[in-house]
Symmetry: none
Subunit: 88 residues, 4 copies
């Protein structure tokens, strides 16, 4: 016995194919992204700076989220009756 049921082969094939399909789409989009950068470059943009801008916008967002999380964590810890208050 191997832990697989009777019709496992078919199911397995379906699953693997679905995964491979999704991965193929991801690869295509990654390629598309690369091409956008190439096109931008050919229009005179500095690719490095461009990446930096995109990255900063992501980080800004993340920063904002983390702030909220941190705040929540503190509030949560403080709402606990005991040890948290001592620690503050």
């Amino acid at each position: 016995m191997n832990g697989l049921g009777p019709a496992a082969g078919d199911q397995l094939r379906t699953i693997v194919e679905r995964i491979e399909h999704v991965e193929e789409e991801i690869r295509e989009l990654t390629e598309a992204k690369k091409e956008i950068y190439v096109e931008a470059k050919s229009n005179g943009f500095d690719v490095k700076i461009l990446r930096e801008v995109v990255s900063l916008r992501k980080q800004d967002e993340k920063e904002r989220d983390e702030h909220e999380n941190l705040l929540d964590a503190y509030l949560h810890a403080l709402s606990k009756p005991a040890a948290a208050a001592k620690a503050a």
Copy 2:
């Protein structure tokens, strides 16, 4: 002067938006992929092995052989008692 033409701002905005859109699609597909694995798991498949299967199908035979040869060489070198591991 900065080396960019007059409507560079608009162009820049468009570019950044296109990139962010593509990245969003990639995120969604990555999420979809994760869900396929979760679903597979709930159907009794071993996710780790499943990933290994998908990964193996990506490598062509030659690469696989090369990898195994290299790994064998290391293991063999390790099993030798002393400095007898000549580069055969």
Copy 3:
């Protein structure tokens, strides 16, 4: 009242300091480990394979066999044309 005794603050401080101290030691060792790999690499070793060797030595034979059997079962199920993959 919070369920902690009077000198809980001191105790807490001590505990937190001990934990942070241990974590610092772990960080240092992790760093040392990284350096060993870097050194090995600069001596011409393939780091990826090296990691694989170390990892293989961790698994005992039994686990390795079980893993291979399971992997074989999956690959076998995949190679079958239809739903013939009975749980043997």
Copy 4:
């Protein structure tokens, strides 16, 4: 030929042993850390809160660092003559 020099076996063994030694030390420290938490718990502390405290102290530090980094990044991007300023 396999990419390994003549005395590779000895060198390899030494490297692997050093790595395994460091990993053993890390395991011991990780164990020690776990025991500190167990001990704390037996002294009436809430382990979950304790972890939260340790983690918050780490995050606080990181947050401060990241703030500086983010600020630096912006300043850096702005000091670039062209595209960055448009993006601001």
